[in-house]
């Protein structure tokens, strides 16, 4: 086995072992971290590989969560609801993306942000989504007679989902459609001249990244047992971008590393902000300020992100040794 295989096997072992030893509050962080990583892998695929910006990835997370919640509340088996979540999120992305993906760069970023705001305000107004109160009493996830009791079941579900998302992304990147996506990120004109239907490919990758977010949203709704517009603030979408950039855009492991780094950092700061004697506005200020600060520091000092910086240093050493 190569060093790489050992590292991956070690990480997989650690992932499987952690739910058994973590307590409930740590497990909650572990689940949320995995869900964030799932969405961030999609953001990295969309932004890092295909060069399309989305500031509204939280919207598809919400669509997945509401889909699974509504189906479960109407007596549909949870597994069906969970499978429907990514499908409905992807369909929503196809519909929204058809007009939106004609835009580029900042325009696309703002349009996706607006999409999320519109969807949130719709969810807050419509009756079937429960308005501002949202949907409550979502049944536990289960398959057949098995029902998920503890948080560790959700941890396994989340990380299995993340593994699936990572595998699909990995397979797509190193393939004919993956090369087409990377090509159109540089030049849509040259990509079209190589026979790539640029518009269709942008739409498919948008839908694929939405499906990842939708799957994460589906797991989230069963885990927390309720969804409301307030669960999906715009800050959530920004957080995914920060995670992707910090970990390293255009790397799959970077998305996971970025999600882990930011989730743990925010958790730590949250503890700090809620210490006795801290002002009431501390949590809000700290979270926004930290996203900004982390983003600036990473862009300044590690412009390619954590994972490329670390692996670049390792391979850099190796090349130097080979030169000697």
């Amino acid at each position: 086995m190569t060093a790489r295989t050992w590292i991956v096997a070690g990480l997989a072992g650690l992932t499987l072992a952690l739910p058994a030893v973590l307590d409930d509050s740590a497990l909650a962080v572990y689940v949320l971290l995995g869900l964030a990583a799932m969405v961030t892998v999609g953001v990295s695929l969309l932004m890092g590989y295909a060069g399309q910006v989305s500031l509204g990835q939280g919207a598809f997370y919400a669509v997945g969560a509401y889909t699974a919640a509504l189906l479960a509340l109407n007596g549909v088996p949870p597994l069906v609801g969970l499978l429907a979540a990514p499908v409905v999120a992807a369909l929503a992305a196809l519909v929204i993306g058809t007009p939106l993906l004609r835009l580029r760069g900042h325009h696309l970023a703002f349009a996706t942000l607006a999409t999320q705001l519109i969807l949130l305000s719709l969810a807050g107004q419509l009756e079937f989504t429960g308005g501002d109160i949202g949907l409550q009493g979502i049944p536990q996830f289960g398959v057949g007679s098995f029902e998920a009791g503890g948080a560790s079941v959700y941890a396994y579900l989340t990380w299995a989902g993340l593994a699936l998302v990572m595998l699909v992304t990995h397979n797509v990147i190193a393939s004919r459609p993956g090369r087409a996506l990377r090509a159109l990120a540089t030049s849509e004109i040259a990509a079209a001249s190589a026979g790539i239907p640029v518009g269709r490919y942008k739409l498919v990758v948008f839908a694929l990244s939405a499906a990842f977010a939708g799957l994460a949203g589906g797991i989230y709704c069963f885990y927390t047992g309720y969804v409301a517009p307030g669960s999906f603030p715009v800050l959530l979408s920004i957080q995914y971008i920060v995670m992707a950039v910090v970990g390293g855009l255009g790397t799959i492991w970077g998305a996971v590393a970025g999600a882990a780094a930011i989730t743990l950092l925010v958790q730590g700061l949250d503890r700090l902000a809620t210490l006795p004697g801290m002002p009431a506005y501390a949590p809000g200020v700290l979270s926004y300020a930290v996203y900004a600060l982390v983003l600036i520091v990473v862009v300044l000092f590690l412009p390619r992100g954590l994972v490329p910086a670390v692996s670049g240093r390792l391979t850099g050493k190796r090349t130097k040794r080979a030169d000697r």
Partner: protein
């Protein structure tokens, strides 16, 4: 192979290309020359589909293509080498060339995600073809380098390899010699001659008259958006209208 019939395109009321007709026969190397602002690039973009024509028809391999988007024209067998270095970033040299085979292979997202047999067979075939195309343009030893780090001359060779990987019927070259130094230019000319010997049809749009006269079987001369001459290089070179366009009416 390619027939352009009275196509026009204007920008802000000024015609860049006006009623231009030309045809390229199977196996022919056709050169399009003209002074700066003659409409060469506009004509090129009308043929590839990156600009829609306002009037006129374009037929390729017996099919009307003037309403088809660029990627459909590419799939019918048009391959382009752009003047500007349009090399895909964040990909190796070989991956860049592999993109060229996109139009004639089929493995989609599902086949790739699930690693279906179609993906495997396509990958194998594309890889072999890309390796051959790289060897042909002399980039074989750079295959695993990041493409955007290549010097400009090699980026053009890379684009040519990408175009060849598509197994084109018609190769469109937009000012391929521009920015190339003596040796690189010579290597490119030799390569074009080899491709012609293989029977490939080539449309060469070029500023450099000497380069075109050496390679083309026939030359079309544009000036101010119109065709002013069309014939074998020897004839066109002595045409008074062409001389006037290049050197000014006083010459």
């Amino acid at each position: 192979m390619l027939t352009v019939t009275e196509v026009s395109r204007s920008f802000g009321g000024v015609y860049a290309v006006r009623d231009v007709s030309l045809s390229v026969a199977d196996g022919e190397v056709c050169g399009v020359i003209g002074p700066n602002g003659a409409g060469k690039s506009t004509l090129f973009n009308l043929i590839t589909g990156h600009l829609p024509a306002e009037h006129g028809q374009i037929s390729f391999r017996g099919r009307r293509v003037d309403r088809l988007p660029p990627h459909r024209r590419a799939r019918l067998g048009m391959s382009i080498v752009f003047q500007a270095a349009r090399v895909f970033h964040g990909m190796t040299v070989k991956e860049n060339v592999m993109v060229g085979a996109h139009g004639r292979t089929r493995a989609g997202f599902v086949a790739a995600a699930l690693r279906l047999p179609r993906h495997r067979s396509d990958e194998k075939e594309i890889d072999t073809e890309a390796t051959a195309a790289l060897a042909r343009v002399g980039l074989a030893k750079w295959a695993d380098r990041p493409a955007d780090r290549l010097p400009i001359g090699q980026q053009r060779a890379l684009q040519l390899a990408r175009a060849l990987c598509a197994r084109p019927r018609l190769l469109l070259l937009d000012e391929p010699a521009s920015g190339l130094r003596g040796q690189e230019r010579e290597r490119l000319a030799t390569l074009v001659e080899e491709l012609r010997a293989d029977g490939l049809t080539i449309l060469l749009i070029e500023h450099d008259v000497a380069f075109v006269t050496r390679l083309a079987d026939r030359i079309v001369v544009l000036d101010l958006g119109r065709v002013i001459a069309d014939g074998p290089p020897a004839e066109v070179r002595t045409d008074p209208l062409v001389l006037a366009a290049y050197l000014g009416p006083s010459a």
